[in-house]
């Protein structure tokens, strides 16, 4: 079976006074129906821009470079005209972003906004659209859904707003749901509710979910596979259990050592020294090398993704000698 989503060599360029920079620089992955892939990275890793590029929503003056390929089912998104692409956004691909307050229109009720999304992709009467909106609010676990239909975003809590966003994203029965930091703005107890909801919807509808997050903790319970991004590239990808059991890239290992936990020894944390360099200062060899405790001569050449474990790839020369 061919995967639902295939991304090959995605590059996003921004012109600067001293030539173009590429905050997303050669990203490739696939995602099957009914699965969740988490893309994890810190600020500046390119994870959110990758999501925007899939939707062809790269902010100006950025461009998706020729040679990049994004395929969803039978459509090559990178070749579609803008009109066809608009039908894909909110149609075959649903989107949920971090801040539901700025994504929702403050002067329309929750019901209006969901109904509008329903009618944008299906020919139905206003009455049918409203019924559908109510069914969607029920599906996303909105408390007292009939009443919420007629409420405005400011009358809803952060968690309820995110449920409205998810209902809008589901309106056109998407095959792929892109969720960019969907719970970052929420309190932990509400965050747990929303993550559980997304997972239940994925299982029920057989959607593929692309979960963009900075939080490895969010990934641990929810994703089938993980791709770790650093400086515009995927530096490690693996099934979730494998990545957590045996992180292969020194950056991934450094992330784990940086996270305080609720269990085990309460020792000093081992932070990654330094900061993520800006895109115009990325090293020509391994981009992590200046912060890496394991760098060696070979690090001056750019490493490819190398087999590092079962289903696991790491962009690190340390794995060059290992049998696959």
């Amino acid at each position: 079976m061919t995967p639902l989503l295939e991304v090959r060599d995605l590059r996003v360029g921004f012109p600067t006074g001293r030539g173009a920079i590429h905050p997303v620089d050669g990203v490739s992955f696939t995602l099957d129906r009914g699965r969740t892939l988490a893309v994890v990275g810190e600020s500046g890793s390119g994870k959110s821009l990758t999501a925007l590029a899939l939707l062809r929503l790269v902010p100006s003056p950025g461009v998706i470079e020729p040679g990049s390929m994004v395929r969803l089912g039978d459509q090559v998104l990178t070749e579609l005209d803008e009109r066809a692409m608009r039908a894909v956004r909110g149609g075959r691909i649903g989107m949920v972003f971090q801040d539901p307050m700025t994504s929702l229109n403050p002067v329309f009720t929750a019901g209006d906004q969901i109904a509008e999304a329903v009618r944008a992709h299906r020919k139905v009467t206003a009455r049918e659209a409203r019924d559908r909106a109510l069914a969607l609010l029920e599906e996303v676990g909105m408390p007292a859904p009939e009443r919420r239909l007629d409420e405005y975003p400011h009358q809803l809590s952060g968690g309820m707003r995110q449920r409205v966003m998810i209902a809008i994203a589901l309106a056109a029965e998407p095959e792929l749901l892109i969720a960019d930091e969907p719970t970052t703005a929420l309190d932990v107890t509400v965050q747990a509710q929303i993550l559980e909801l997304l997972d239940a919807l994925r299982a029920k509808r057989g959607m593929a979910v692309l979960l963009i997050t900075h939080d490895l903790g969010v990934v641990a319970g929810r994703a089938d596979d993980v791709a770790v991004m650093y400086a515009g590239q995927i530096v490690e990808s693996a099934p979730t259990a494998q990545l957590f059991a045996a992180p292969a890239h020194p950056y991934t290992q450094g992330l784990f050592a940086s996270i305080p936990t609720l269990h085990g020894e309460r020792g000093r944390l081992t932070p990654i020294p330094g900061v993520v360099p800006p895109p115009d200062q990325w090293p020509s060899g391994c981009r992590f090398a200046p912060r890496c405790a394991f760098r060696f001569e070979k690090s001056s050449e750019p490493p490819p993704l190398l087999p590092a474990g079962p289903g696991q790839l790491a962009r690190c020369w340390l794995h060059a000698e290992q049998p696959a």
Binding site: P143, A144, T189, A192, D215, F244, I259, T261, L262
Partner: protein, 339 residues
């Protein structure tokens, strides 16, 4: 027994909604009777979700906001009755580090001047000695002494937070109130700043009131913890005891909701239903009762408010704190409550 460095008793902070039409509206009970103490050199972690009142506690103690009632004493000096001169002296001994390293530094003030401000106000050094102290402080927080002549916008979030720490250290306080000091930072930088905060405390011996929403971060830095819900402390005690054996169901749920970077620990999750109620209309009885899942919960919880009382190593405000709220590591449980 040595008296505590900070002693807070029955602190109350209510906010009134603005405007003449809202005169009859009930006040928002942001802080509704909070008491705790902090010893010299100790760290108390104050934890809770947004709207629980934890930030109001910190801001009121610093007199950035006026309390509605209650008392707070730093080293025996009553804070809430201080006037201008006394307040200034008090602020030398008590400093704050904010969440947003972008908003808390004056963009038009050079980093060195921002750090030197407190030194000058409190006349801790003069002339060339001021510059030397600033340079030493920058070095102490891991920054280049040459940064003193630069402006805040030239720095990353982590560097700005270090500048904020240097500014707080400049007046050699006995207590530093940190309000979400690492929550705006990326994890790799967060770890650097947490280590720095710990190192500085070990070297200088000051105390922290560490306000945060992240239990794991608090566990990393605090010896004691106080969990707030709807303006009240619902559980407090040694951090290891509270996290290993929480006695209040809200602490159990909060701990269970922390997304841990370990797939093996995602089995027995308690997902609380609904949102916290509004602090303008807190439920009668136990404020947690509408979302509670404790096996013993009953009519009493709806009518009678539980007070903090000793249970084992800690204190908990639950009528049934002796009964373990739920087997946290057990089978997955979905908990219903009033939404």
């Amino acid at each position: 027994m040595t008296p505590p460095l900070l002693l807070v008793k029955d602190l109350v902070k209510h906010y009134r909604a603005g405007g003449f039409l809202s005169a009859a509206a009930p006040p928002v009970r942001a802080v509704d009777g909070v008491s705790f103490e902090i010893a010299r050199g100790e760290t108390l972690g104050l934890v809770g979700e947004s709207g629980c009142g934890k930030s109001s506690v910190g801001r009121t103690i610093l007199r950035l906001q006026e309390p509605t009632s209650g008392s707070a004493a730093l080293d025996g000096t009553e804070i809430f009755s201080l006037q201008s001169e006394g307040l200034r002296t008090m602020r030398r001994h008590m400093q704050m580090i904010f969440q947003d390293p972008y908003g808390s530094l004056n963009p038009r003030m050079k980093v060195g001047d921002a750090i030197a401000e407190g030194i000058r106000i409190h006349r801790l050094a003069r002339g060339a000695a001021v510059g030397e102290r600033v340079a030493a402080l920058l070095a102490e927080v891991g920054l280049d002494a040459g940064y003193a002549t630069r402006y805040p916008h030239e720095f990353s979030g982590g560097q700005r937070q270090r500048i904020g720490i240097a500014r707080a250290l400049a007046v050699e306080p006995a207590l530093i109130i940190c309000d979400e000091p690492v929550s705006a930072l990326d994890v790799s930088v967060q770890a650097q700043v947490l280590n720095l905060l710990g190192d500085l405390q070990r070297q200088r011996g000051f105390a922290y009131l560490f306000i945060a929403h992240d239990l794991a971060v608090v566990r990393q830095i605090a010896q004691r913890i106080a969990v707030m819900y709807l303006g009240r402390i619902v559980e407090t005690g040694p951090v290891d005891a509270v996290l290993a054996d929480p006695r209040h169901p809200y602490t159990v749920a909060l701990r269970s909701a922390v997304p841990e970077a370990d797939p093996a620990r995602h089995g027995g999750r308690i997902v609380l239903a609904g949102d916290p109620p509004s602090p303008a209309a807190p439920p009668p009885g136990c404020p947690f009762h509408p979302r509670c899942f404790h096996p013993s919960r009953n009519e009493r919880c709806r009518t009678e408010r539980p007070e903090l009382r000793p249970v084992g190593m800690q204190m908990a405000a639950c009528h049934y704190a002796e009964i373990t709220p739920l087997a946290v590591e057990g089978a997955s449980s979905r908990v219903a409550g009033i939404a």
